[in-house]
Amino acid sequence: MSSRQPVTDLTPSAEAEPILRTVNLSKSYFLGETIYAVNDVSLAIEPKEFVVIVGPSGCGKTTLLSLLGGLDRPNSGEVLLEGQSYSGLSENGLAQLRRNHIGFVFQFFNLISHLSAMENVMLPMRFGRQPRRVIRDRAGELLDMVGLSQRANHLPLQMSGGEQQRVAIARALANSPAVILADEPTGNLDSKTKTEMAELFLRLNEDFAQTFVVVSHDEGFSRYAHRVIHMQDGQLAKVEAGGR
């Protein structure tokens, strides 16, 4: 376990409540000895904020993101989204939370290969109660927003990596989530596409006030972020202002 003191990043805000907050969050695994992937992390994400989490491989960034998104369960501590704690939620409760309030973007896109771009974007909305026509119209708008309306009927395998990631972003926006969590969204893309992707994130944040929490090694994201959080050995090591 690191000898460094954890950085408690409870950024006070004079405005609204933090949209996403963790309190003494910890996640450990037992592999002969107890290994802390996330160790006593407290942080707060403000509405409309663009936060980037950086750190070396194995520092716990992805684990932290999984905990923030309810994809994994901590050993101790709490996560609150818009004031609602994840504690006590069943798997179904977490699924509903993810559907209505959180969008995900993964490094390897994670699109369903036998569904078209339009159908992938419609997927989160299908599980709600909206009429099909409304869902279809909304999906069309989102694909247009990310510049892929001409690829609506294409399968993921018929698209480039950058296009697939754009579809993933459109899917993440489908239910107008409170926050989008992105895990190495440009990790599988070439440098030109990485820049385009970072600019897309920036545009969505600036024009649509979308809150982002992005885990990335990519310096480009740090340039567009409001805040950059450095992690080391499962703890917050440093918090600094981003390029904005």
Binding site: F30, S66, G69, G70, L71, D72, R73, P74, N75, S76, E78, Y86, S87, G88, L89, S90, E91, N92, G93, L94, A95, Q96, R98, R99, N100, F104, N110, L111, I112, S113, H114, L115, L123, P124, R126, F127, R129, R171, A174, N175
Partner: protein, 385 residues
């Protein structure tokens, strides 16, 4: 909370896509299920005939006959030997029972060998040629060659009686005699005829058919077969009947169903492994466990429908040509179809339950990172390990 209908409406397009995408695997599953159901239907068809013979064999010692022929030999030696070997119970007597079903009830004709331990068992002296034994309660009404007994023979523990004898030369069982079997229906209503030879017994049987059964009692069906008169326990007889009738096919059916169940489990497990990532994505974007289960059950519903249809087609194609090899009276009944489908569903459920349950309870990370999934506990967020 969404209704089941809403869930089904949300996931059925995904189920259809999955069926199309993995159509080879689902066709294999349908084939396996169809094989299991078809095998059950064939076995049930065999059993319907074998069971009829078994039911004939279950006649308890009550002389369940309206007419009893006593003769030197009433069964072929080979048949006698076979039944004594297969009986597995304390056989009191081996005989032949013929049932004539008419509109007015059933006439049962029992043919006993002359030397039968039956008489000792009922405490009656063995009849001698020409002897006429009458029950104490009844009086003879006939002439010297035929004695007739009243319509109903004594019931309960009353001894059996031999009420007459017949020689080959007699014109026996005239219409008058046969009218004294007045009440169609179950025994006891016994008329014993002593026939010295098989030929005599055969002619009596012919007369019985002509004069008693037709034209006044149109014959609906006739069943004929060896019968055991037993004094053993019901359990012993049941074991004997089970070993004779049910066991020949039950072993094969069990193996086929086990093969089908293991095959279904293997294919559904492979399908689950291939779809782990897709299931993780669905859970990530907000599909609840109920939705996952609904989707998988819809897919299995298609498999069940296709497998059942296949089984019906196979049964319809194979049973008619095999009828000659099956026991007499065999046929496929609707109740057998119902039970065949039920057994098929049970085998299918056993085969796919584990992969479906695992898909239902696994978390996103467990699916994406191939972590072990425990079915034992429902974890609430924050469970400490």
């Amino acid at each position: 909370m969404r209704t089941r209908r809403e869930l089904a409406a949300a996931v059925w397009p995904l189920a259809l896509r999955s069926l199309r995408r993995q159509r080879g695997r689902y066709a294999l599953m349908s084939g396996l299920l169809g094989l299991g159901i078809a095998t059950y239907l064939l076995y049930a068809t065999y059993l319907s005939g074998a069971g009829l013979q078994a039911s004939l064999a279950l006649a308890p010692f009550e002389l369940p006959a309206d007419v009893v022929f006593l003769g030197q030999r009433t069964l072929a030696a080979a048949e006698l030997g076979e039944w004594e070997r297969r009986g597995g119970v304390d056989v009191l007597a081996v005989a032949r029972l013929t049932e004539y079903r008419t509109e007015h009830g059933t006439l049962r004709v029992l043919a006993l060998p002359a030397a039968s331990p039956l008489w000792e068992a009922v405490g009656a002296p063995a009849p001698e040629p020409g002897a006429i034994l009458l029950p104490a309660l009844f009086r003879p009404r006939a002439g010297p060659t035929i004695s007739l007994i009243p319509p109903r023979a004594p019931e309960g523990a009353a001894p059996a009686v031999v009420a007459g004898h017949h020689t080959a030369t007699d014109v026996v069982l005239s219409s008058m005699a046969l009218t004294l079997l007045p009440q169609p229906g179950p025994a006891p209503n016994c008329l014993f005829i002593w026939a010295r030879t098989e030929a005599a017994a055969a002619s009596l049987a012919g007369t019985l058919t002509v004069d008693y059964l037709q034209p006044r009692r149109p014959l609906l069906s006739r069943a004929d077969g060896p019968v055991l008169l037993w004094t053993g326990t019901a359990a012993a007889l049941a074991r004997g009947v089970v070993s004779q009738t049910y066991m020949p096919g039950a072993g094969a059916l069990t193996m086929v169903l086990a093969f089908c169940g293991i095959g279904l489990f293997t294919v559904s497990s492979l399908s689950f492994l291939d779809r782990k990532r897709d299931l993780a994505i669905l859970k990530t974007v907000g599909l609840e466990s109920g939705g996952i289960t609904a989707m998988l059950l819809l897919e299995q519903g298609f498999v069940a429908a296709a497998g059942t249809a296949l089984a019906m087609a196979v049964a319809a194609a194979t049973i008619p040509p095999l009828r000659g090899l099956l026991p007499a009276g065999s046929g496929l009944r609707w109740t057998s179809v119902f039970w065949g489908v039920a057994v098929g569903m049970l085998v299918q459920a056993a085969g796919v339950a584990l992969p479906v349950l695992t898909a239902r309870v696994a978390t996103v990370n467990q699916l994406l990172l191939n972590l072990p999934v425990s079915l034992q506990r429902r974890r609430v967020y924050g469970n400490r390990e």
